[in-house]
């Protein structure tokens, strides 16, 4: 028998022996080492990435939850803040059945509402990318807005102080605040974004901080006051002092005679005469007080005078709807519990209207008597030693020639009449964990 001759192909069984030394373990060792070093970097990177993702998702979920709460408030405000569930939600126990929604950019929310007398609670839960956050918003029912709650003097477009003018009030505008010629302003100020208190060094902002922000003033809503008002009080229920012939209302003087001194819904008083107004809502086109004349507010009375738009009154541009000059004054009744007199100007977007207080006039007596001038579409000028106590808002405010303004806390609390009922947010609280029953647990 002849054995087969060994060939190279048959030899490998013997070859691995000498090649299986430290090469394989070394390579394995190196691979493991490289893998370990690489893993540390990868794990660290992943952890950082996870943290960033978690933070982002948390913010997103919170934003979604807030969107839900806003939607709830919008719906309940649109329904007139009537302290009941808004359909299709119905009351189930103390809470309305939940409403759900989603955002176009991603994220789902559900909100629960508990409307009670004068108060609403909204719990909103937002979810985004597996992260859930829950918030509680409490809001109270507000029948009106408080335009002076933050600022006592507001000039939507500008505020200008000149020639020793003196203002002690928190002041806001969307433009610049100009302090000229030894004028002084004491109080926090807010100017529009990119604007400033100007020019430095001429006048002085003696106390308070300076901020930038946006100021808005709701328009005056006079409702049906133009036709449904207390103008009928003239002159039967409005005692006149001084010369009756110098008091003119609606084309008729205090003696009952026709007068060309005043037109429709215009009150003009001159020559040391005065009139006393009882409580009521009055609709004026113009009020002019000259030569030591006065308007007194009856004891305990609350007076609201709406100045109609120049279009409705037949005025052109630039009319002075309120003019107080030469030692004339409006004097309140001394009741310091609420605003006694509110002068509300409807104004116009196309015809300018002016409020002019000049020459030793006074819209004050004691500074705890509270006046409000609210004229978001009119220009206001105080000059020549005039003084004012209360709160005022206008399109532009110019305070000149030794005039001075102080603000009272009662005026700050003034509520703008006829603004629609709505909810104002009091509290925002983040809750722990997802909603259970009741939904505000752990908030």
């Amino acid at each position: 028998m002849r054995l087969p001759t060994p060939t190279v192909r048959n030899q490998p069984k013997t070859a691995p022996g000498p090649e299986s030394g430290f090469a394989v373990p070394t390579v394995l060792f190196m691979v493991i080492a490289a893998f370990a070093v690489g893993s540390v970097a990868v794990v660290a990177s992943l952890r950082a990435q996870e943290g960033t993702s978690r933070d982002l998702h948390t913010k997103d979920a919170l934003a979604v939850a807030e969107a839900g709460a806003h939607q709830a408030l919008v719906r309940y405000n649109a329904a007139g803040a009537k302290e009941a569930c808004v359909p299709p939600q119905t009351l189930s126990g103390a809470w309305c059945t939940p409403a759900t929604g989603s955002l176009a950019g991603g994220g789902d929310f559900a909100y629960w509402v508990q409307p009670t007398a004068g108060l609403i609670e909204v719990v909103s839960q937002g979810s985004r990318d597996g992260v859930t956050r829950r918030i509680l918003v409490r809001a109270h029912s507000a029948a009106g807005q408080q335009p002076f709650i933050d600022w006592g003097v507001i000039g939507l477009n500008s505020v200008r102080l000149d020639s020793n003018a003196d203002v002690t009030a928190d002041t806001a505008t969307n433009g610049d605040i100009n302090l000229l010629s030894n004028s002084q302003l004491c109080g926090n100020v807010q100017v529009g974004p990119g604007h400033d208190v100007l020019p430095p060094g001429t006048g002085s902002h003696s106390c308070g901080i300076e901020l930038q922000g946006t100021t808005t003033l709701p328009a005056v809503n006079q409702g049906d006051v133009r036709t449904n008002n207390d103008n009928g009080n003239f002159f039967a229920s409005t005692p006149i002092g001084g010369q009756r012939s110098r008091v003119c209302w609606n084309g008729v003087n205090g003696d009952g005679q026709a007068s060309s001194n005043c037109g429709s819904r215009e009150l003009v008083i001159t020559h040391n005469s005065d009139i006393t107004l009882p409580s009521g809502n009055y609709s004026f086109c113009r009020l002019q007080l000259l030569q030591n004349s006065a308007v007194y507010i009856a004891s305990g009375a609350t007076v609201r005078i709406y100045f109609d738009s120049p279009e409705a009154c037949g005025y052109g541009s630039g009319v002075k709807q309120l003019e107080i000059d030469s030692n004339a004054q409006i004097t309140a009744n001394g009741d310091s519990t609420a605003v006694d007199v509110a002068l509300l100007f409807v104004g116009s977007e196309t015809r300018s209207t002016v409020i002019d207080l000049a020459s030793n006039t006074a819209v004050e007596a004691l500074c705890d008597q509270d006046f409000v001038v609210y004229a978001p579409r009119s220009d206001l000028v105080l000059k020549s030693n005039s003084s004012y106590c209360g709160a005022l808002a206008a399109k532009t405010v110019l305070i000149n020639s030794n005039s001075h303004i102080t603000v009272s806390s009662q005026a700050q609390a003034f509520i703008l009449p006829n603004s629609p009922p709505h909810y104002v947010v009091d509290d925002f609280v983040e809750c722990a964990g997802p909603a259970t029953s009741p939904p505000d647990v752990d908030c």
């Binding site: 013997t14 430290f22 080492a33 943290g51 933070d55």
Partner: protein, 194 residues
């Protein structure tokens, strides 16, 4: 016989290493092992640094998140300078300054950062305007910051500020500088007082 002799010759020819082979193999092995050891040593040496850095960043994240949450729920915030912050806000505590959890109550929180780059948090009663009276223990919430310029206010209506928080860590031992930054607008209307 012929086969056996051939196999024997083969085995003898491949059965050992020559001296140069051994020397070269040893050199290569030393280089390889040396590299691996260097790698490992660097990794082991760097690990505490990386760990500390991660811990710092995590600490900064937690602080930024906590301040953001407190600011979101805040009604009043003020900052006399960029190293200090005072917030009147909701905290889930049985009472202010007490670590026992409870329903959300209003407390005043003070953050203060020193020039060494450490910040402390002090929880006080809502009427406290200056710690430590009426406050819990001050707790260090972050350390190792580049400076104490942490808080910045964007002007808004008083009490309704937008507050930004900036935690900057310096570059150290070859590590890049890191900054954790966040900002929050207060959601609650301002209450009376500071």
């Amino acid at each position: 016989m012929l086969v056996r002799s051939r196999i024997s010759r083969h085995t003898k020819a491949e059965g050992g290493f020559t001296l140069p082979e051994l020397l070269i193999a040893t050199m290569i092995g030393l280089v390889v092992i040396g590299s691996a050891v260097t790698f490992f040593t660097a990794a082991i040496r760097g690990e505490p640094r990386v760990r500390d850095r991660s811990a710092q960043i995590q600490q900064a994240r937690v602080m930024a998140e906590r301040i953001s949450r407190e600011l979101r729920q805040g009604s009043n915030a003020s900052s006399p300078n960029p190293s200090q912050l005072m917030i009147l806000t909701y905290v889930p505590r049985a009472s202010c300054g007490d670590p026992t959890p409870g329903a959300a109550i209003r407390c005043r929180i003070f953050y203060s950062c020193d020039t060494a780059g450490a910040c402390t948090r002090t929880e006080c009663g809502p009427n406290t305007v200056a710690p430590p009276t009426g406050c819990g223990t001050s707790v260090e919430v972050v350390e190792g910051l580049l400076d104490n310029q942490v808080f910045a206010f964007t002007p808004r209506i008083p009490g309704q500020a937008f507050v930004s928080v900036r935690l900057a860590f310096p570059a150290t031992d070859g590590e890049d500088a890191i900054t954790v930054e966040d900002g929050v607008a207060l959601r609650n209307p301002p209450l009376g007082g500071p």
